[in-house]
């Protein structure tokens, strides 16, 4: 009788204080492992087709550098650089008229936001006098290297005279900003 009770108590002790906690620890570790595996799989899906992880990081960092200054908070810098860029390309600015900063809305009139910041745009009307080839370069620079994302809405070009070869261009574009 004493032996049976002792054996049972020993078994109970072993079960409660050694086996059960160890079993729980295994279950918790397995859950953590599953979670980590799921996260890895979701990221590896992003890497599908890429040659190496380093290459992906390099490409993404290049894109990040380019995109990080494409949506400034303030319009002043962009407005200052519009004529500066034009001057560098031998373009005469006849007039530069910024409009009112407006929030960008989606098709259902909802405010568009990224990184918890609302997206807005500043309409700009620009009148220029230049050669056509310089206008092409200017439009390319506005899209690529200009430190704000721009989108041309309308463009009107007329020849200034029959002999000068210069044109008069009226460009309406939006300068996009993050609040």
């Amino acid at each position: 009788m004493i032996i049976s009770v002792s054996a049972f108590l020993l078994f109970l002790f072993f079960w409660l204080f050694l086996f059960m906690p160890a079993h729980k620890q295994v279950a918790a570790l397995k859950n953590e492992l599953i979670l980590a595996d799921q996260q890895i799989q979701s990221i590896e899906l992003l890497l599908a087709g890429a040659q190496s992880q380093d290459q992906v990081v390099r490409l993404l960092k290049e894109k990040q550098r380019y995109l990080s200054n494409k949506f400034p908070q303030k319009e002043e810098e962009g407005l200052r650089l519009i004529p500066e860029l034009a001057r560098k390309m031998d373009i005469d600015i006849i007039s530069l008229l910024p409009g009112t900063r407006t929030e960008l809305l989606d098709a259902s009139n909802k405010q568009i936001a990224i990184e918890n910041r609302a997206v807005s745009y500043l309409p700009v009307t620009l009148e220029l006098s230049c050669y056509f080839k310089d206008l092409v370069k200017y439009a390319i620079e506005l899209r690529t290297t200009f430190p704000a994302f721009t989108s041309i809405n309308s463009l009107d070009i007329k020849r200034e005279g029959q002999t000068s070869g210069k044109i008069r261009a009226n460009i309406k574009f939006n300068l996009y900003l993050l609040n």
């Binding site: 050694l18 086996f19 996260q39 890895i40 992003l46 568009i112 056509f132 041309i152 070009i157 007329k158």
Partner: protein
């Protein structure tokens, strides 16, 4: 006999307990190793995940802004590349809201050559990925010049 049986039973149960404990310990150790490896790998990937999220968010915004618009600089580049020396453009207008581009100008050639130059120009416009359709709206002779107007419906 009974004592011997009990001894054997006790030894067997103790061995079973020890074996199961060893098994669980080895499982714990294995899980910890795998978890450590996975977490290290995940740390390396975390940077990619964050970068990708940043890039995707902004690229999606850019795509949203550009939706339904053609790149104006692309059109300007196209025009400067395909306008032949026999055509002089006087006016160019582009409206992204109506998806219309209009070109007015003169052809410095005369007769059939003028018509051919204009037809080739319209074809070149129509072959561009930015332009859905290019049509000659008017052409004629005014003050000794072959004038024309072309309207292009832009691709959306």
């Amino acid at each position: 006999m009974r004592k011997t049986f009990l001894r054997f039973a006790a030894i067997f149960i103790a061995a079973a307990f020890i074996f199961s404990q060893l098994l669980i310990n080895s499982q714990i150790s294995d899980c910890k190793k795998r978890l450590k490896t996975a977490q290290l790998y995940l740390q390396g990937l975390e940077e990619i995940k964050n970068l990708k999220y940043f890039v995707d968010t902004r690229e999606n915004l850019i795509n949203l802004i550009r939706r339904g618009k053609v790149p104006a600089e692309g059109l300007l580049k196209l025009i400067s590349a395909i306008v032949p020396s026999s055509i002089i453009l006087d006016e160019f207008s582009l409206d992204q809201s109506t998806h219309i581009m209009r070109l007015r100008g003169i052809v410095v050639l005369g007769g059939d050559s003028a018509a051919q130059a204009l037809a080739d120009f319209i074809n070149a416009l129509g072959n561009s990925k930015f332009i859905h359709e290019a049509n000659l709206i008017s052409s004629g002779e005014a003050q000794g010049k072959n004038t024309f107007e072309i309207e292009c419906i832009l691709a959306q």
